[in-house]
């Protein structure tokens, strides 16, 4: 009888450990993503829309997964320095100016992790380390 109790307790402990033990990477991702969604709402949504849909040919959408993936290393620079000139997104041309976002590198990482994993994008986490590296290489 005691044996049975010990076995069931052990089973319970293992089960709990499996459920509660998310990997560090998963926790990092969630932390970035959640903070990023708040930054997105206050700083990006006005122009790029609630669902990243943009605004006709005035504001580019963030749903072009190829653009986001291809320009991954450039995205932090766009936020830090703003963006001007003609860009081709979702097969349309945009030439509006985006002002610098005035965000700290950690905030850039958070909001990019949010955008990079919303609206159909699947970049995975874009963490502070990566953002700092990209920022150093900005032209």
């Amino acid at each position: 009888m005691i044996k049975l109790k010990i076995i069931s307790l052990l089973c319970l402990a293992i089960a709990l450990a499996v459920v509660s033990c998310q990997s560090d990477a998963e926790i990092e991702f969630k932390r970035y993503y959640t903070s990023g969604s708040v930054i997105y709402q206050t700083r990006c949504q006005n122009c790029h829309g609630k669902n990243g849909e943009g605004l006709l040919t005035l504001m580019p959408p963030l749903t072009d997964t190829v653009f986001i993936a291809k320009n991954r290393a450039q995205l932090p620079c766009y936020l830090q320095n703003g963006l001007s000139g003609i860009i081709n997104v979702s097969g349309k041309f945009f030439d509006n100016k985006m002002p610098p976002a005035n965000l700290a590198p950690i905030e850039i990482a958070e909001v990019l992790t949010y955008v990079g994993n919303s609206f159909g994008n699947k970049t995975g986490v874009i963490n502070l380390n990566e953002v700092e590296k990209s920022l150093k290489a900005c032209k």
């Binding site: 949504q45 006005n46 122009c47 605004l55 504001m59």
Partner: protein, 218 residues
């Protein structure tokens, strides 16, 4: 007994409060200062109310055409103040204004007027390009530019906050959509950044158009 009368009065008042503005008598309020004017018509004294109205103005639209208050005679219109290079609230305002535009663009007694508060940058060419990007065509939605002083002064007659410039030379304005009737009286004001308020604006425009005074006005 007194208590009973009190209760009955309260109940009646509440009932009246609830039935105010029911379907058959629906009418939008008229905003702004008003003054009674007594005049003599056919030997009889008549008291009339003079309402606050939008004064005369003269601006240029995105096609380079001259637009005055006369261009809006016989039109119900929605006005707002914006500028094309605005990074903050303008995109969301015009995202919402597009909903109003798409709902009413085929009516010939309806207009949208967006006054630029940055006429130095917002030339006719810039306004036309902006309109193109929003897929705004024809003559339902006019983007106007004129002298900055006049625009700022006019903004006061729409009962919106006079725009200001902060240290960064960025314009600050409050993003209201103002509903004006055919008699150029203000009939509503709605936050242009709030989707729900803009839905109310669309509903109110429909209500306004059914008022006899509006339907008959040319």
């Amino acid at each position: 007994m007194k208590k009973l009368i009190g209760a009955a009065t309260t109940a009646l008042l509440l009932f009246n409060a609830c039935t105010f503005n029911t379907a058959d008598t629906q009418k939008l309020p008229i905003y702004g200062e008003r003054e009674p004017v007594t005049k003599t018509v056919n030997g009889k004294e008549v008291t009339d109310t003079i309402y606050h109205t939008i004064p005369a103005f003269k601006f240029i639209n995105q096609y380079g055409d001259s637009i005055t208050n006369k261009s809006l005679d016989g039109k119900i219109y929605v006005a707002d103040f914006f500028f094309t290079s605005c990074p903050s609230i303008c995109p969301v305002m015009h995202r919402n204004m597009l909903a109003v535009y798409n709902e009413f663009k085929n009516l010939n007694d309806f207009k949208i007027i967006s006054y630029s508060i940055d006429p130095k940058y917002d030339s006719v060419k810039v306004l036309k390009k902006y309109a193109d990007k929003l897929n705004v065509q024809g003559n339902t939605w006019w983007l106007l530019q004129g002298k900055k002083d006049e625009t700022y002064k006019l903004s006061e007659s729409y009962l919106v906050t006079r725009p200001e410039e902060d240290a960064k030379e960025q314009f600050i304005h409050d993003g209201f959509f103002i509903l004006v009737d055919k008699q150029k009286r203000i009939r509503g004001s709605y936050s242009g950044v709030d989707e729900k308020e803009v839905q109310k604006l669309i509903a109110d425009i429909k209500t306004l158009r059914t008022e006899p005074e509006q339907a008959e006005a040319k």
